[in-house]
């Protein structure tokens, strides 16, 4: 399997960040998205960076691995930087080549935006790196609970998500197997003109669909045999519990927010 697939993939661990309630993590990230935009001074940026880096180190996941996972977005970050460099014309002219002027404001603006962008992506990837998808599902189910009042199928949605998560590795293995079987029959998925390559997908997709339907049918039967009759009257094994550490993180996060308000320029 190729490397792109493991970006943001959960890395098991016992760190503080791993053990936080997923709802805490989601809430913190939600608010982080807002407070990132409060920063506008060197000190306030430093506060944000310090927060993000501390979180990153706390996960105890190899830094190289995290940064490698961010590879595909480096391009976007650099692109954003260059865009700001070209478009902004505030401050003093630093360089002037062939009618293109780069202003000091552009450099500052470019840096600021790129850092924000980087921090956002880093923090969100920390969520998926330290939280199993099923925890995220549980957190979403729990946070959407009020919607049950308006007949929104929260349980069904969560079950669907969890079964999909359960079957992603299975279907990936299946895709791998079928594509290898077809490659052995002379299908070339990688080279040739676009039209040929699109055509090559048919021998992959048809068996995948056939097998996915068969699986779904068998799974439905197995679920029925095990007494599944919908969400009514069900109990749950997995439960979410807010602990002391969640409280501490919330308080810390509020202090950081306050610090941002204090250190930004008005």
């Amino acid at each position: 399997m190729n490397n792109a697939l493991i970006i943001g993939q959960y890395v098991p661990g016992e760190s503080l960040v791993h053990r936080l309630d997923p709802r805490t993590k989601i809430t913190v990230i939600f608010f982080f998205v807002f407070i990132v935009f409060l920063a506008n001074s060197v000190i306030s940026y430093s506060v944000l960076i310090a927060f993000a880096l501390t979180s990153m180190f706390t996960t105890r996941i190899p830094i190289r691995y995290i940064l490698k996972g961010l590879m595909p977005v480096w391009f976007l970050i650099i692109f954003t930087f260059i865009l700001h460099l070209i478009v902004t014309n505030k401050g003093t002219v630093l360089i002037d080549i062939l009618g293109f002027s780069i202003y000091s404001g552009g450099v500052i603006q470019g840096f600021a935006i790129s850092i924000r962008f980087f921090l956002l992506i880093l923090i969100t990837s920390l969520l998926t790196l330290t939280t199993t998808p099923i925890e995220i599902t549980d957190a979403i189910e729990d946070m959407l609970d009020p919607l049950k009042k308006i007949r929104f199928p929260v349980h069904e949605l969560a079950l669907m998500m969890s079964i999909s998560l359960r079957f992603i590795p299975t279907l990936m293995q299946e895709t791998d197997k079928i594509s290898k079987a077809q490659a052995s029959r002379g299908v070339d998925f990688r080279t040739g003109p676009l039209k040929e390559r699109v055509k090559a997908v048919v021998p992959l997709l048809v068996p995948l669909f056939v097998s996915a339907f068969k699986r779904a049918e068998e799974l439905a039967m197995a679920m029925e045999a095990r007494g599944y009759q919908g969400g009514e009257g069900r109990t749950k094994l997995r439960e979410l519990k807010l602990g002391k550490r969640d409280l501490i993180v919330f308080i810390l996060f509020m202090i950081i927010t306050a610090a941002l308000f204090l250190t930004r320029n008005y």
Binding site: M1, K180, Q182, G186, V210
Partner: protein, 290 residues
């Protein structure tokens, strides 16, 4: 085609926290025209080995030679398609690869990719259909309307239609009932003999290995654990137990018999009838002594 593995290792997801070695420093030689059984538990590296045989993966270290096709980490044959034409692989549950509207089209799919002429394909489809024991009237039907056993045969026909020199079979009888299993293995043995194929059978069944193969390779945790003639390798109880494998049932019985009667009967892949007459000899002989 001769097959050679020279110190082959294969590592999945190299340079990630998930990296693991599926094959470790594996070397063996399979002469053209032989029937080799590869035995090992799930996770012993069998499926990774198979994928090297037609270039689906290339070794992370070492070298694989299939006839004149050479595969290394940095090198692959110029004509990969030709290699895949000459090495046919029947994967586990091959019926999962069916996709065409008709049985005929599905069988013809491989040869078409390998640029076989339309006339030739027609002939081959007809020939292969009867070889795998499918009634010709099924050719126009959708493969998805057939029974499980028939689907399996269609899929196998699809591989055979490319007329490979090397035939790789990954547990080809899994999920079939006993009659289906016998019929299928007999079919492969016939083809192996008639067409001079080099056959590699991946199996869990010691019985199949002694019955059909003339060479066995036992894998354990990605490395070669034992290799040799079936009657030599598959009689070594202690060594096989060590990797949680068992000797064939007949060997177990012969061992127990020898212990009880104090007289050794050699194991030479005999049939039950042959064994019965050997037992008779022993019993009679013992009777005379008394």
């Amino acid at each position: 085609m001769d097959i050679t593995f020279n110190n082959v290792s294969y590592i999945y997801q190299k340079n990630t926290p998930f990296a693991h070695k599926a094959i470790a420093n594996l070397s063996f030689y399979i002469p053209s025209g032989t029937f080799t059984a590869v035995i090992g538990h799930t996770g012993s590296g069998k499926s990774t080995l198979i994928q090297h045989l037609n270039g689906l993966v290339r070794p992370s270290e070492g070298e694989v030679m299939i006839g004149n096709y050479r595969l290394t980490r940095d090198e692959k044959p110029d004509n990969m398609r030709m290699l895949r034409n000459r090495v046919g692989v029947v994967f586990q549950y091959p019926e999962h690869q069916l996709f065409e509207e008709t049985v005929k089209k599905d069988i013809a799919f491989g040869p078409k990719n390998f640029n076989v002429s339309q006339d030739d394909i027609e002939n081959r489809v007809r020939e292969i259909t009867s070889q795998v024991g499918l009634p010709e009237e099924l050719l126009g039907r959708s493969p998805f309307d057939l029974s499980g056993g028939q689907m399996r045969r269609v899929a196998i026909a699809g591989v055979l239609a490319a007329k490979p020199d090397v035939l790789v079979l990954d547990e080809p009888t899994a999920g079939l009932d006993p009659r289906g299993q016998h019929e299928m293995m007999d079919m492969f043995t016939d083809m192996h003999k008639q067409q001079g194929l080099t056959t590699i059978l991946v199996t869990h069944s010691m019985e199949d290995a002694v019955k059909y193969a003339d060479h066995v390779i036992i894998l354990n945790e990605g490395a070669k654990y034992m290799e040799g003639r079936p009657e030599e390798v598959l009689t070594q109880r202690e060594a096989l137990h060590h990797v949680q494998l068992d000797v064939p049932e007949m060997v177990q019985f012969i061992n127990a018999f020898s212990e009880k009667f104090g007289q050794k009967i050699p194991y030479h892949r005999q049939s039950e009838a042959e064994l019965a007459s050997e037992i008779r000899q022993v019993l009679k002989g013992a009777g005379k002594d008394e």
